[in-house]
Symmetry: C2
Subunit: 231 residues, 2 copies
């Protein structure tokens, strides 16, 4: 499903060069449940943004479901992102002046293939907000929610279009262990029962333990991949 | 040092009333190292904002170092916050267009008692940024930093004025275990060697375990306080 080869991402800061990603090769099959781990600054979010088609590499190639992503035009990319990819951002990126419900409805509004009525959109958004335990907070706006509640709105928004490929960048960073466990169970169900490919960046060993495979980054490179052990 | 009695914080959302804090009594002595725990939405950040003089309660009283906080004027409050209180926000609140260094220098710029020269401010800001492992990222702006790096800039900024009272709202939520450990060691040192009062909201049992006392919130109230056990 995902084939990344020799991916790099460099930033120029004056005379300094920051190699956020320094040559990453990664192959992910359909239906995998993968944890991406590594210390702060090791390149995890940068990698996720490339794989989720939210950013372009400085060099290297990336194919998604066989399609070379760098050859898609903006419209095609937007459609891929909307229908096939769900993304939970490390910093949430919610619209501060819209309610939780409206934030979660948004990806459904942007849908082009097989569009839904406003009533059906609201119904689906409510359903996924209840799944993450926010049934009684749907009308609150982000500034009227706790940190962990905002994180869960971001998760709900990523799930509402029922994407084949879910990227979650530290989805439990702001959650207590009980709520973390609920979110984790949700991700595992998506993978086991619905066959979704789920890629989770996490700092928590318990979360990584529940995944089938762990890929470890360090200084912008893959330094360990548990899948490689079995071959 | 901190004496909170019957603190409440309610929000009106149309016909609904949200009791973010529902009657909290809490006494904290100088030099304590306390963990505040509880599920997502239980009122931890709300409590921290009240204790850190960033917000006012709906009812109840709060004395800080013997002074009734609600009787201080805006100027006095601002001075207390600047010189005596350090606050690490759950959502960081960094200035996005300023470098990490300038973000950390800011509390020193606002200092009225015993002001510092611009050169000395920069020196102190650099020193604390190095303490949190960001020596090579000082000129990056928040959008040019990873999530965990932004969290550490927020921590550095809270420490730079060497406050007597430090509030840290989930300071390791975006950090891997190694970096978390470094930050935790820093907080313990502040408490043990410098006598600072440190109050940490945390979801991680390892962090709470290192504190001398744990206060647990649930639905806006204190439901458990390990200090009460010893009396
Ligand atoms: N401005 C507001 N208006 C309405 N409700 C609010 C507002 N701010 C907070 N709340 C509600 O108050 C409750 C407590 O919020 P608080 O941020 O203190 O929780 P928390 O314990 O810090 O949670 P987390 O662990 O998720 O950060 C939450 O249920 C939240 O929805
Ligand atoms: N726009 C940018 N300009 C310059 N450097 C950047 C930029 N974005 C990221 N970096 C740097 O690239 C490195 C990797 O960042 P990235 O956000 O991928 O780390 P991460 O593994 O997600 O870390 P964390 O666990 O703290 O979230 C970091 O050292 C960061 O400072
Ligand atoms: Mg990150
Ligand atoms: Mg909070």
């Amino acid at each position: 499903l995902v084939q990344a080869q020799a991916l790099t991402k460099t930033y120029r800061m004056g005379t300094e060069v920051v190699r956020a990603l320094d040559g990453v090769d990664l192959t992910i099959d359909k239906g995998e449940l993968i944890a991406i781990v590594g210390t702060s600054g090791s390149g995890k979010s940068t990698l996720m943004n490339l794989l989720g088609c939210l950013d372009t590499p400085s060099s290297g190639s990336y194919r998604l479901a066989g399609l070379p992503v760098d050859q898609l035009d903006d419209e095609q990319l937007a459609e891929v992102r909307n229908r096939h990819i769900g993304f939970v951002f490390q910093s949430f990126h919610l619209l501060p002046r819209q309610s939780a419900l409206d934030n979660v409805v948004l990806p459904l509004v942007y849908r082009r293939t097989d569009p839904l009525s406003p009533a059906e959109r609201k119904r689906r958004a409510r359903e996924v907000l209840e799944k993450v335990g926010l049934g009684d907070r749907m009308l609150h706006k982000p500034p009227e929610l706790s940190g962990g509640q905002r994180q869960r709105v971001a998760i709900a928004r990523a799930l509402v279009n029922d994407p084949a490929l879910l990227f979650a960048d530290e989805p439990t960073g702001n959650l207590d262990s009980k709520t973390s466990e609920e979110i984790l169970a949700l991700l595992v169900t998506l993978n086991r029962e619905h066959g979704r490919t789920v890629i989770v960046v996490t700092h928590e060993p318990d979360v990584a333990r529940r995944c089938d495979r762990t890929v470890q980054l360090k200084d912008g490179r893959v330094v360990h991949d548990t899948r490689a052990e079995r071959t």
